[in-house]
Symmetry: none
């Protein structure tokens, strides 16, 4: 038995209109991927009986397994059972065990079993029930054209449990261990997708074809994913992951689902250090990213959002003369801001940013996208001037992430120059 070909068929008017964003198919795909099964294709259609029947017929001739999601509810636009019966050329019959489930389900909740609900027990003759312990809609299984068809409920929590407890065990029974997929991910900051691809082409020209390389932009991070289905998958992925680690160096934030803010809070916490943040153009975003992490209070006491010059002086003791002579967006001002924040908060490390987020407020000398960052400790303050001429939103997110990354690099004692400093430095 080899890895089966799997397709998904989703039905729902709300999915087609865009009123609901489909997260069910991602959930199914991830659950299947964990046991080495990949979804090849998915089709999403509105609740229309004819179209549903035609899709089921067509897909059943293309693959080994079809998972249908949605259309098991009590209302008139729920028609999966009916469509499957027509496609399989079977009668729709009231299923005694499904009725029993409905009776029990209503009894537990003190509901009266309505005629609408009874419709949920009308299933294609000869199908096998799949238990739904969370909802009224039972799942069911039927084979058409040698394709195994599983019908699942649209409610995410019910679907998730039915997949994990009932369907996945049925599907994996037949897959041998040595055919399972190995997946490993890393999160990268400061290198674009094309830069990473170029580096690999140049520095790792013998990259094995069996290891599929995938990129996902989770702005401003890039997720790099290594997938292998070879018999040597585990060993091979580990080896090439290591080579990739050496290639990308400290641009790697961490493994799997690592996030910059979580990594920074963890490092600070481990080293018993505290961070303070003085923000102008990011307006509280850096502080907000740090405090999103549970446990931030161990490493963060104070943030200063000093949007005006007056407040830079009042809150952070930036000399009025500095602001007059060099302006708010200057090396001198961010140094004074970070010194002020460090002195007042008595934190170990500090970040200060001041820039032109745009879309207005730029000048020839200080255009939209220009930003000064100062970071470090009172005895060792670094500065850089970057140029990020994008949307206001992107600018604020990139500057926040770069600031956190610069603190991360201090904490891991990195000696590398990050690519975003060599590539995106503002040319005066």
């Amino acid at each position: 038995m080899t890895i089966p070909q799997v397709q998904l068929l989703l039905t729902g008017n709300e999915l087609m209109s865009g009123d609901v964003i489909d997260s069910n198919s991602a959930m199914i795909a991830q659950q299947l991927q964990e046991v080495g099964i990949e979804v090849q294709r998915r089709v999403t259609i509105a609740d229309n009986l004819t179209n549903l029947v035609n899709e089921i017929k067509a897909i059943s001739q293309q693959c080994d397994i079809l998972i249908i999601n949605g259309g098991l509810g009590p209302t008139v636009d729920d028609m999966t059972a009916q469509a499957l019966a027509i496609a399989a050329n079977k009668a729709l019959k009231r299923h005694p065990k499904a009725m029993e489930h409905l009776h029990n389900w209503c009894k537990q909740r003190n509901y009266t079993l309505s005629d609408e609900n009874k419709k949920q027990a009308d299933l294609p003759e000869g199908c096998q029930l799949i238990a739904n312990t969370l909802g009224s809609a039972v799942g069911f299984y039927l084979q058409i054209n040698h394709c195994d068809i599983y019908c699942t409920p649209g409610v995410p929590s019910e679907l998730k449990k039915m997949m994990a407890d009932e369907i996945i065990p049925l599907l994996t029974k037949s897959i041998p261990d040595n055919q399972q997929t190995k997946v490993k991910k890393m999160q990268v900051f400061g290198l674009g997708e094309s830069t990473i691809q170029r580096l690999i082409n140049k520095q790792l020209p013998t990259w094995p074809t069996e290891i599929e390389l995938g990129f996902r932009a989770a702005i401003p991070l890039i997720e790099v994913k290594l997938t292998s289905r070879s018999s040597q998958a585990e060993k091979q992925v580990a080896l090439w992951y290591k080579k990739l680690q050496q290639l990308l160096g400290d641009h790697i934030i961490g493994e799997e689902k690592a996030k910059l803010n979580q990594v920074v809070v963890k490092l600070l916490s481990q080293q018993h250090k505290k961070l303070t943040i003085a923000e102008s153009c990011t307006g509280g975003l850096i502080a907000s990213q740090i405090t999103q992490v549970s446990g931030a209070s161990q490493v963060f006491e104070a943030g200063f959002v000093t949007y005006s010059n007056t407040m830079k002086t009042k809150l952070l003791q930036v000399d009025e003369k500095t602001l007059q002579q060099y302006g708010a967006v200057s090396k001198e001002t961010v140094i004074a801001m970070v010194k002020g924040a460090l002195t007042i908060s008595q934190a170990d490390y500090g970040i200060a940013v001041s820039g032109v987020a745009g879309p207005t407020g730029g000048s020839t000398e200080k255009p939209v996208g220009m930003v000064w960052i100062a970071w470090g400790s009172l005895d060792n303050i670094n500065t850089v001037c970057l140029y990020i001429p994008n949307s206001r939103q992107y600018f604020q997110h990139f500057v926040s992430s770069a600031s956190l990354d610069l603190i991360r690099r201090i904490l891991i004692k990195s000696t590398e120059v990050p690519a975003y400093i060599s590539e995106r430095q503002f040319k005066h």
Copy 2:
């Protein structure tokens, strides 16, 4: 010309693996729905050239319009242009105008144009370019089997702009006025979907069947959408929108895509007032939401992120005795915080929040989800204690939004009690 038959084809390994939840197709569907075009079917597949070619060929024989999303990037797994060329039996050629776009795009960002990026200019011969003003990947149009095929980028912001500015105008040119759909939306804060539906059932029982009512949770806002395709659509939607306005009152933030932060900045700006924010449990999120809005500097000078008790005293002059006697999460502390922020910043209005975001740090007396908010001006400070026992992320977002909403209600001189105060008040 009647309403065209539309299908979507999405390509991306990350979509199939479940690493990315597809929100692009919902966005496309909503944009099309606003001009009365419905999507009939969508197919999602991994980045595989053969499968892509086959899907394009098959779909082009089934509908009038095919929108392909994704696969326009610079890497090897981006193969939409190549697949379309094969399906159309055309050569892949370097497009001079696409090259020009790439050159300009790189020049503006001080990037070197790499060979990988040049691949983005290799397009099917005879295709028409569709401008992408935000990214490197140009869109393009080609007809196969009398089906109009539009290729669009996977980056959501780029897709959204290309759809709105380029593709929608092309598609609507041929639809007569009397077949156009009328859609009107409002954004609501503080009332749930089921509460709104219940209010409508009770207070507006004669709601016409021709006006479809849709809800979309854009947490923490709810978007309420009225859609009509009747010949009286325009008049009818306007009338019932007005009735809904009277029913939901000041819970309505604004029309169409109104956002709380934008509305608050606009109102402050119109009234020449300034806001200051003192945050504990929201950790900079409220300030960050205000400063996301371009022009925030007119209405916002300073924010204080005082995460520790020491910093509440040092930055906001909260009396140490107040903190000792009542604790950080108390009415007395938030009043002192907002007074401190107003005094130091000399702003007209202020917000102060202090609560238990969780998941740890709660006690029997002050459980996770409890939050004190103080808001108003120095001569009129209001307070409320809410209970939002959800995830840390939801808690922070809800508290930020409620805070901004309370300021909005002062600015519009609202005399209503918001539902979230009557329903979610903490019971001591």
